[in-house]
């Protein structure tokens, strides 16, 4: 360790491109300090390349040199990919590492933090973590959203950057072939989809086109926004949202939903929506695009744009591009989906940690400029260089066969520690078509406020747990039945609302609004 520092110090004094960290101004401890960590997330079940504790991340090596803190893997539940299960295993076995990190830790830290499993961070951060504190000062609503019911917060979240996630995509070459313009409102969209269905835009002489399709059947609900209803308040499907009166409500209990769903059901009956949307599954985008069958979808900018290059050879003239959300019946253009500004992922300090100050200073390190670059782009000089004050990936990274994010996961960057993502990381490898789409979407005011969740106390959580899973089941059951045409939403509506009432929707909304008021007071 000392040798390495010495070596880099010599390097710093001799080379022109001195690593920024060589001067040691970010050093937290004089003697190297080992902290154990649980890090469990979908891409890796462990803190090391591919989850293997013996292969130390290059980013971790750099962080060790910069801070003197050595993270040592102690991940539980390595043989499951379900991070929630791994967390439960960790809590149940009792032997907690110093740092607990990874996927979906918000709910457990807010439930078990107040019971004593995790350390509240409020005072630690305000005293020892100026960079994190600065972020909270700028984004108080995010801090409110992750605060537990006891008023403390228990983890430092992964904070995604960037705004747009999904967009409406359409086969521009099909529009051109039929002599149509991009649809600007819901009525024009209807006409375009009818034309896709009837006028054989793929030119094979068979009516086999699927006008609207989606990889996740839930995306059929995005069409609800075309008639001014909502399908979700966050990037989780079927989530609650905050209405204009600052009340938490559920989209599927609104009158607007009734009328919008009747229209969606109509479209489904007319064959404008993939008849097999409920069972086609995640490969439907691959299949319908490569077979030249799908006309329009609602999906992620980057991955969906990628089909233009992938299918350029096989599907003649293939041009699948993002277009502006058509104006709704009431004339509103809305993109309901966006990247959520805070994830339930990140890291927390467990009760067994004996170095609280060093740990929080270490967490803060990742919010410094150097730390943030390290967390986003990997080690400077290895995977990226500073060009005109901008971090730019090396050609080797950008032109590799592997996607940049996969490469970063093996570097130890972009993993689910508590850090603030930098959108420049993704922009550099976003295709030209997607960039144009994102710029188009950004130029228009399309986004709606996100519901970031509420922290329920134990009694409220009990009410929520008792009623919500069954309510959700019932709502989805009715929703699919209406879309599939067994039952008429207009006729069934009063019974439906009454049943929701009997099943406790009011109780759920009451506890959520109570928590929401407490959170924002």
């Amino acid at each position: 360790m000392r040798k390495l520092t010495l070596a880099s110090a010599i390097l710093a004094s001799t080379a022109l491109t001195a690593p920024a960290f060589a001067d040691g101004h970010l050093m937290i401890v004089e003697e190297p300090l080992e902290l154990t960590i649980h890090m469990h997330w979908p891409r890796a079940q462990g803190y090391g390349v591919g989850g293997s504790p013996s292969e130390i991340y290059p980013v971790e090596m750099a962080a060790r040199e910069m801070t003197g803190i050595h993270l040592v893997d102690q991940t539980a539940g390595r043989n499951t990919t379900d991070s929630g299960e791994a967390m439960n295993l960790l809590l149940a076995q009792g032997n907690m590492p110093d740092i607990v990190g990874g996927h979906l830790i918000l709910q457990p830290v807010n439930e078990f933090g107040p019971q004593g499993a995790f350390v509240p961070l409020n005072d630690l951060v305000s005293e020892y973590a100026p960079n994190i504190q600065a972020f909270w000062d700028e984004n108080p609503e995010i801090l409110a959203a992750i605060t537990a019911y006891d008023g403390n917060y228990y983890y430092i979240p992964y904070l995604p950057d960037g705004e747009f996630g999904r967009a409406w995509f359409i086969r521009q070459d099909w529009l051109d072939a039929l002599g149509l313009e991009q649809p600007q409102n819901v009525d024009e969209l209807y006409d375009v989809l009818v034309a896709f269905r009837d006028d054989d835009p793929n030119g094979n002489g068979v009516q086999d086109e699927i006008p609207y399709f989606a990889r996740q059947w839930e995306e059929v609900n995005r069409l609800l926004t075309l008639w001014d209803a909502r399908s979700s308040g966050s990037d989780t499907y079927h989530d609650f949202y905050v209405n204009d009166e600052s009340q938490i409500v559920h989209p599927y209990a609104q009158v607007a939903y009734r009328d919008a769903l009747a229209n969606v059901a109509q479209w489904y009956e007319e064959g404008l929506i993939d008849p097999e949307i409920f069972t086609r599954g995640s490969s439907s985008r691959d299949y319908l695009l490569s077979e030249n069958l799908g006309g329009m979808t609602h999906d992620w900018f980057a991955s969906t744009s990628g089909y233009n290059a992938a299918l350029a050879e096989t599907v003649e003239g293939f041009n699948f591009i993002p277009f502006l959300p058509p104006a709704s019946a009431a004339g509103v253009r809305m993109e309901e989906h966006r990247r959520i500004p805070v994830k339930p992922d990140g890291w927390a300090i467990s009760y067994s940690n004996e170095h609280l100050v060093e740990t929080i200073q270490y967490f803060d390190f990742w919010f410094t400029e150097e730390g943030r670059n390290l967390a986003n782009f990997g080690v400077e000089g290895e995977t990226w260089n500073m060009v005109d004050g901008e971090p730019v990936f090396t050609d080797a990274v950008l032109n590799s066969d592997r996607a940049v994010n996969s490469q970063m996961y093996d570097e130890g960057a972009q993993i689910q520690r508590g850090y603030f993502q930098d959108y420049r990381y993704e922009w550099q490898w976003t295709s030209q078509a997607a960039r144009e789409g994102i710029e188009l979407y950004s130029a228009n005011d399309l986004l709606v406020p996100q519901f970031l969740g509420v922290s329920l106390n134990e009694e409220e959580q009990a009410v929520y747990d008792r009623y919500w899973p069954s309510l959700r089941t019932y709502m989805l059951e009715r929703q699919q039945a209406w879309i599939l045409g067994s039952g008429d939403v207009q006729e069934d509506w009063d019974d439906y609302v009454e049943t929701l009432d009997e099943m406790g929707l009011e109780d759920v909304l009451e506890v959520m609004n109570a928590a929401y008021t407490r959170q924002n007071s």
Binding site: G84, N88, L91, A92, G94, Q107, E111, F112, Q115, G116, A117, P275, E276, F278, T279, G281, D465, R466, P469, S470, T473, Y474, L476, E477, Q479, Q480, A481, L484, S486, M503
Partner: protein, 331 residues
């Protein structure tokens, strides 16, 4: 009858002492007998040992955790330190219409599977037994065993494709007769036939092995004497084969009844949709959605405990009935 009390008393005393001694002797004798037995048969018990250890570790030890069904369980506090709350979880369950519906669906699916699915492997075994061409017999047996070894995920994929309205073979055949395609997997009325049919297709072949083994155990002399008496093959099947394997059939039936609430729910999870919950949602899928996904282990444990109690009662009942009427039983 009059007896001299004095003589009688002394005599009784003697008898008691004698009896005690005899008992002591017998006790020693029993222990010795068991010891001899073990010394003679220790290899057999050694073979049994791993199973017993497995049972203790994986079935008896976890029973300690069943108590969370009556507790407000927190993984951090642990099983012992979570507070007792009595029957609250059971109340929650039985006040939930979806749980009641799940019980009903479980029973309907199980009873249909039992009525339709139970005789199939027996018929298969009887048919295999009558096949004379060994090559054909082996080939068909292998074909019907195969689905058992395919993972549920793949089976579900095959089912979804087979019943697809656009590309599925089922709808293609329906189309030949001029009918419109049916989107089977979103229609509640079709879920049970598809699920039960798939289950039979997947397991009947493998289950027939037990009956084939039982048939192989029937003494050939019975058949030889039947041939001498001029019995037809049909008569031999009815009068010899089926009565001989009847105990096996009944044991299998009792086991099946005991597992009646254990629907293969991983298959249901892969095949169901909110649109088909009305007929497809069973107790285990309900537990999965409500309990495991939501992290409510205590509630899930309560539902699981209820399941186990019902299964236990069913096994006891089936066994008792069988013992009384057919003299065949598990114990």
């Amino acid at each position: 009858m009059s007896i001299d009390p004095e003589i009688s008393g002394a005599r009784t005393e003697e008898l008691v002492i004698e009896a005690r001694e005899a008992q002591r002797d017998r006790k020693a004798g029993r222990i010795q007998r068991v010891g001899d037995h073990l010394r003679r048969e220790w290899q057999i018990y050694l073979l049994l040992l791993p199973t017993i250890i497995w049972l203790l570790l994986f079935l008896y030890k976890p029973m300690y955790g069943l108590q969370i069904a009556f507790k407000d369980y927190s993984v951090f506090r642990g099983i012992a330190d979570s507070p007792w709350i009595g029957f609250e979880h059971f109340e929650t369950l039985f006040n939930n219409d979806q749980f009641i519906r799940a019980i009903r669906n479980t029973l309907i699916i199980s009873v249909y599977s039992l009525i339709i699915g139970f005789p199939v492997p027996i018929l298969l075994a009887l048919m295999f037994n009558e096949v004379l061409n060994q090559g054909f017999k082996k080939a068909t047996q292998t074909i019907v065993y195969l689905p058992h070894f395919i993972s549920s995920v793949i089976i579900a994929g095959i089912v979804i494709t087979a019943y697809s309205p656009s590309a599925g073979i089922v709808n293609t055949v329906i189309g030949w007769f001029g009918f419109d395609p049916v989107y089977f997997l979103t229609r509640p009325e079709w879920f049970r036939p598809i699920f039960i049919g798939t289950g039979i297709w997947q397991e009947a072949g493998f289950q027939s092995i037990v009956y084939l083994a039982a048939i192989a155990g029937v003494s050939p002399t019975l058949y030889e004497s039947a041939v001498v008496d001029g019995a037809s093959r049909w008569q031999m099947m009815w009068k010899i084969t089926i009565p001989s394997i009847l105990p096996t059939i009944i044991i299998m039936l009792i086991i099946r009844i005991g597992n009646i609430l254990e629907v293969s729910f991983e298959m249901i999870i892969l095949l169901y949709q909110p649109a088909t919950y009305a007929t497809a949602d069973v107790v285990n899928t309900f537990i999965y959605r409500q309990g495991i996904q939501g992290g409510q282990y205590d509630l899930a444990a309560a539902a699981g405990l209820f399941n186990a109690v019902v299964a236990f009662v069913l096994v006891i009942t089936a066994n008792t009935i069988s013992k009384r009427y057919s003299r065949t039983s598990l114990w």
